[in-house]
Symmetry: C2
Subunit: 198 residues, 2 copies
Amino acid sequence: MKYPSPYAPDFSNRDPLTGVAEDFPTRWSPRSFVKTAIPAEDLEVIFDAARWAPSAYNEQPWNILTSTDETFETFLGLLVEANRKWAVNASLIGFMVARRNFTQSGKPNPTALYDCGSAWMSLTLQARKLGLYTHGMSGIRRDAIYEAFGIDRDDFEVVAGFTIGVLDLKENLGKPYVDWESPSPRKPLAEIWKQGVW
Amino acid sequence: MKYPSPYAPDFSNRDPLTGVAEDFPTRWSPRSFVKTAIPAEDLEVIFDAARWAPSAYNEQPWNILTSTDETFETFLGLLVEANRKWAVNASLIGFMVARRNFTQSGKPNPTALYDCGSAWMSLTLQARKLGLYTHGMSGIRRDAIYEAFGIDRDDFEVVAGFTIGVLDLKENLGKPYVDWESPSPRKPLAEIWKQGVW
């Protein structure tokens, strides 16, 4: 891992089955980042991983809009205030924007957001392989994002935001964030997996 | 890998950047499956991986409805005909069903499908780690699925289908499927990744 973590997160409230690859239960969404410039070559690898996600008719409806530079303040201002406070220390802020309609037919793509979620998971897992962390954000100012970048609402849907960064000690987070800074548990498998009947 | 492949797929039309983990560009969506009973312990690991995906407010909006047994014919009949013809040899047919609203507030969840896509990618990558393949399907009979299982449309959205199976030689696929049986290429990275400006 190119970006080692300053502490070992406590995963004791997570209960993956034996045999689940550690990529999945050891991925989590911290808020404590230490401001670090991530070389372009690492970001390229992360976003390249997203390219290989599957999508309906291979439409690849994902569009990833990111900032690491002098536009960072603008991107930060497009988050809700509660996210701005910790995201300021991330290395990158990004927005996932889905193409609503199929490029070929112009018809609505019912899995556009779903397919974008696959791409998002791919980039997240690739980031972890480098030792970096991501944090997805639904707390974004969607209307302001369409306006700020001139994104056509008929063609595109701003889905979610995210940060990429280098983990910092959680003690460096202020209140109330420090109290939330640990991997979250999950529902039991039986609650999400239904076999044969709904 | 518990389920070895009978041939090495040709990835020569894929151009991942150096450094991208092979999990991503070597995942693809075949149609050639050889009917195989997958032990419950392997399916459990696959769906357990999905549990660890991130979601807005940790809502975990994913509901995974699957069949491997005497309900298989019913599930098969809920695919469009073009998918039925090859999916018949898969080991499992599944549907991803998203909870539309937040459980706590009852308000619409704008990232429900996106979060389900993350769970879908997790289960897909975990399946590959076992040597199994998945194939996502947007070609499903959505209306019939709501009816067949009594799924409440106000609360849930049937998003997509998928199969899990053991790879067969592509030569065993009939026309026209055999002609499509190879990993698909992707758009160049510059086309999906926009830095600072839309």
